[in-house]
């Protein structure tokens, strides 16, 4: 017992680097390589404009993961709430000063850079919830007051992105947040109860939805409603995937994608491109890679001593899972088109940076898996 509580010397950078889960790094690189190949094909066999930048971002991203892993875990603990509130403020600011793109205000121009605060909010939410459950006495996890607090932490950004309006991100926040509450040990009855109330309140929520969001759901339920509009994308995507078959049409040979059938084929619909050209084998291989990454992250979570590190790993697994499953379900017509990118594969800087940040936090938790953060390391609900 005294041995366990005894002094542990801080690990050196070399030991920390040795503690990195290189399997995860390899998986990330492999998934990003799928992205580079697909983006090369999207540009009709050209590294510009997408593939080369995607490759560069992936390399920088892996460097970010390693860099974040070298930082002391307490640093992230201290940063958790401040980053959450800063991003919450940024999200609140978007409708006031943000720039509009494709009918939705999601972007903040800051010092010449366009940033999408909602992308980083996913990471900040994981961080904040991890920080919360690190602090909370496990015995009180299911007390109503202590269940309500994380609910508010989740609800605030969900409401803000719904205003933008960005249904996909709102679903993602809610899913990740609620799953983190579950994994932290909140009594399952809460979830069942909420599901029941949610079903009852669904009509009210429906009213709050934007017309185009309602339309998307309606069309999803009955694609015939609008074969040339929002249903058209899914129809084209299904045709492209279906015609790819088991082995695909071959790299650079996808007719549907190459003939400009697909909308947003470098971002949201990149999976279609990939599935058409590489067939089920290629598409399933990518799904397997995601599954392996998720399993690795969960295994890493279980090996951590502190609740904080566990939550960070579980959160990263959740983000990868929710992104990937929603995106793929979307392009094969299982869920409505909500505009969620395929993690590490879709082209786009902000979304990719956010994923790398989440993985960096997870890796930092894993590197410091033996560190026993005590509850009194953080003094109160709102920290120091």
């Amino acid at each position: 017992m005294t041995q366990m509580l005894g002094y542990q010397p801080p690990p050196t950078p070399g030991r920390k680097l040795a503690g990195v889960n290189w399997m995860v790094i390899a998986l990330v690189a492999l998934i990003a390589a799928f992205g580079v190949a697909s983006l090369y094909s999207v540009a009709r066999g050209s590294f510009s404009p997408f593939a080369e930048r995607h490759a560069l971002r992936a390399m920088l991203g892996i460097a970010v993961i390693l860099g974040m892993a070298m930082v002391p875990l307490r640093f992230w603990l201290a940063l958790a709430y401040p980053s959450y509130f800063v991003l919450l403020a940024a999200l609140a600011l978007v409708p006031l000063v943000g720039t509009e793109a494709m009918g939705a205000k999601r972007w903040l121009r800051f010092a010449g850079l366009s940033v999408q605060p909602s992308e980083f909010m996913k990471v900040a939410l994981v961080l904040a919830l991890a920080r919360y459950y690190q602090w909370l006495d496990p015995a009180r996890v299911s007390r109503p007051v202590w269940v309500l607090a994380p609910c508010l932490m989740i609800a605030a950004p969900v409401m803000l992105v719904l205003q933008q309006p960005d249904l996909g991100t709102a679903v993602l926040f809610a899913a990740v947040g609620v799953a983190l509450m579950f994994i932290a040990g909140v009594n399952p009855l809460y979830f069942l109860g909420t599901a029941g109330v949610g079903a009852a309140l669904a009509p009210l929520l429906w009213e709050r939805l934007h017309a185009y969001q309602q339309q998307r759901i309606r069309v999803f339920l009955d694609p015939e409603l609008d074969p040339l509009g929002s249903g058209y994308h899914v129809l084209q995507s299904k045709i492209a995937l279906g015609s790819g078959g088991l082995t695909g049409k071959g790299f650079l040979k996808g007719t549907q994608g190459q003939l400009n059938f697909l909308p947003e084929k470098e971002t949201d619909f990149i999976f279609t491109m990939l599935g058409e050209e590489w067939g089920y084998i290629g598409a399933a291989a990518l799904i397997c890679l995601y599954a392996m990454l998720i399993v690795m992250l969960l295994a890493m979570a279980m090996s951590c001593r502190s609740a904080f590190a566990r939550q960070l790993n579980a959160g990263a697994a959740l983000i990868v899972f929710v992104y990937a499953s929603i995106n793929i379900s979307m392009v094969i017509g299982l869920v409505p088109v909500v505009g969620v990118p395929l993690p590490l594969v879709s082209y786009g800087g902000t979304a990719m940076t956010a994923i790398f940040a989440a993985l960096g936090l997870a890796m930092c938790g894993y590197v410091n898996r033996n560190e026993r953060l005590r509850r009194d390391d953080v003094r109160g609900f709102l920290g120091t």
């Binding site: 932290a184 015609s243 007719t255 598409a283 399933a284 279980m302 609740a307 959740l318």
Partner: protein
């Protein structure tokens, strides 16, 4: 009681349990997604393959119809002639050769023609159509459409060609269209359409943007046979605006007829009240109708290699030394600087000496004591050598630019030359040498480096005649609405100075001893004021008579004029290349054109406008 460690262990166990549950759910979901994908790609894949084959999105760019070009009286100069043609999109047929062979049974095609089409289809991108047959009769179209199901990828379309009328008269002004030469990737996609034509010269190029219109597009799904399954969206093209020119074709034809005896010459006539260019003639000329001929490139090469390239519109692209017609510029610059008074006399003894260099007057015997009026009338060189020296090159250059020289005009016609208004900066930049006093002296009589086009000289004359900054224009109206009559700002010269110069120009034509006496139109109110110019091409020309010299070494003959002197309405400038003396050759031509202009019914033109200043000036001129 729990120790902290026990609680930790319990918490960790619970976490592991929940993580396993969640992990299982995730893997289950991904498995479900993968199984759905399997169903879609493998089990139902066979169903989607033909769908993908049939289901091709086809975005077709719809070319806009080019606007017509009309003359000021509505005579059509350029229009579009439609014909039908059949094209084949190779990507939409499985067997190009078989389709072409089948097509040949409907519209007869020779074997070698067929092989040529097949070869072309293989050479280019399968999505770019190849022409199967052009200029189809209506029955052919009907037959092709009847057999359409057997002819995958074949479609009929309208082929619009440019057709020029009155080409022999208007080719230089109207210009011509041609296929797009350089295609940048980011250019408008309409430029990539086979057979799309853009303006290459003249108004066709100058007004290309508005003539071209806006391309439309149609987004449609076509099946494997090239048949349209459904139209997704369509944006109609917007046809180009018709452009009405200011040129009077009939008058221009007569002017060209009169000029045809010259080897190489140009004439510009404009309405000084509106800036409208009524005549822009250049010989030798050509007929732009040849550009609708398929053998055009051969014709083009022939034209361009002829000695006096007829393709060059000399009215805007011929840059000539203005010679003595530049003397008005020098006079006005000197008057404005106050270095001379109109009545001041300068003695001419036939030559002028500056720093050991001797500059000759065209009259070796000298003009004696000359004031501005006499110097202009008799075109005394020595007077203007002295004026140029007193004024300085910078003021002369500034005045030249103010009067319209050394610039191109935004008037609807492309490829104008700016000519040269030299000054020390220009010489240093272009020739790398310092400006010499001798350069100023030569500039004083419109020789040396100064170059101007007939259009610029006409504008200069109009500005002197009206005292307003007349801007030339070749486009009278665009689309249905006629353009508003422009209001020109004053050019900023005192009436007193302008009148002095106008009086001198009056003297040139109407007083004995005037170098342009041959341009005189009697004593009526419709009299003409002008200025001759004879610009040196070769040094020998000063020593020998014109007929002794080879044609290329003879002087250019120039004449600029405005009329009526009482109320200026028209300004004309002409250059006859190697014509000899301006007074002998150019002045009579201008007089004839001016007579034509004045004789034509004034009502058919824009209403005259009577500014106070020029008319007052002209009245004084008549007294002088």
């Amino acid at each position: 009681m729990f120790s902290g460690d026990d609680a930790d262990i319990l918490q960790r166990r619970r976490f592991t349990r929940r993580a396993l549950i969640l992990g299982g759910a995730k893997l289950g979901t991904l498995g479900l997604v993968a199984s759905q994908l399997y169903r879609l790609q493998v089990l139902q894949g066979a169903r989607y393959v033909p769908l993908a084959e049939e289901n091709r999105l086809n975005i077709q760019v719809l070319a806009p119809r080019r606007g017509r070009i009309l003359d000021r009286n509505g005579i059509v100069l350029a229009e579009n002639e439609d014909s039908y043609r059949a094209v084949l999109v190779p990507a939409l047929t499985r067997d190009v050769r078989a389709t072409v062979a089948l097509f040949a049974r409907i519209v007869p095609l020779g074997i070698d023609q067929q092989t040529r089409i097949v070869a072309r289809a293989r050479r280019q991108s399968p999505n770019v159509p190849v022409v199967l047959a052009a200029k189809l009769a209506f029955e052919d179209i009907a037959r092709i459409n009847l057999f359409a199901p057997q002819l995958p990828g074949v479609r009929t379309e309208v082929d619009s060609r440019r057709r020029y009328r009155h080409g022999g008269t208007m080719a230089h002004v109207v210009g011509y269209v041609g296929s797009v030469e350089r295609r940048a990737l980011d250019d408008a996609p309409v430029l990539r359409l086979p057979g799309f034509r853009v303006g290459k010269s003249g108004v066709e190029l100058g007004m290309d943007d508005s003539l071209r219109g806006r391309a439309g597009h149609v987004k449609q799904e076509v099946d494997a046979l090239g048949r349209i399954v459904r139209q997704l969206e369509k944006h109609e093209p917007r046809r180009g605006a018709d452009t009405m020119l200011t040129i009077d074709t009939t008058l221009q034809a007569r002017v060209l007829d009169r000029m045809s005896q010259e080897k190489s010459a140009a004439l510009v006539a404009l309405d000084v009240t509106t800036g409208e260019v009524l005549v822009m003639a250049s010989v030798p000329n050509f007929d732009n109708a040849i550009f609708t001929d398929p053998d055009v490139s051969r014709e083009l090469r022939r034209l361009q290699t002829t000695q006096h390239n007829p393709m060059v519109n000399r009215a805007i692209r011929g840059a000539y030394p203005p010679g003595s017609t530049f003397k008005m510029v020098v006079a006005l610059a000197a008057l404005e600087r106050g270095v001379v008074k109109p009545r001041e006399r300068i003695n001419c003894e036939g030559s002028y000496t500056l720093a050991d260099h001797v500059y000759r007057c065209w009259n070796r015997n000298g003009h004696g004591a000359s004031d501005l009026h006499k110097a202009l009338r008799e075109s005394c060189d020595v007077y203007f050598y002295e004026l140029a020296r007193r004024t300085g090159i910078k003021a002369i250059a500034a005045m030249a630019r103010r009067l319209g020289l050394g610039q191109t005009f935004d008037c609807g016609i492309a490829l104008q030359k700016a000519g040269v208004v030299p000054d020390p900066d220009w010489k240093r930049l272009r020739l790398g040498r310092a400006w010499l006093d001798g350069d100023t002296i030569l500039t004083g009589v419109g020789q040396g480096y100064v170059l101007s086009t007939p259009l610029q000289l006409a504008v200069m004359t109009a500005r002197i005649a009206t005292g307003l900054a007349v801007e030339p224009r070749l486009v009278r109206a665009q689309g249905p609405a006629p353009s508003k009559a422009p209001v020109f700002a004053p050019v900023g010269l005192q009436t007193e100075w302008l009148d002095a110069v106008r009086r001198g120009m009056f003297g040139v034509v109407n007083e004995t001893g005037g170098t342009g006496y041959r341009a005189r139109i009697g004593d009526g109110p419709a009299r003409l004021a002008g200025k001759t110019g004879t610009s040196q091409v070769s040094r020998q020309s000063t020593q020998r008579a014109a007929h002794e010299l080879a044609w290329e070494q003879r002087d250019h003959a120039l004449f600029v004029a405005f009329a009526p002197t009482s109320q200026p309405r028209y300004a004309i400038a002409t250059v006859i290349e190697h014509g000899g003396s301006g007074g002998a050759v150019a002045a009579p031509l201008v007089r004839e054109v001016m007579e034509e202009l004045l004789a034509a019914e004034p009502e058919s033109r824009s209403p005259p406008f009577a500014p106070d200043e020029p008319s007052r000036g002209a009245n004084e001129a008549r007294q002088g």
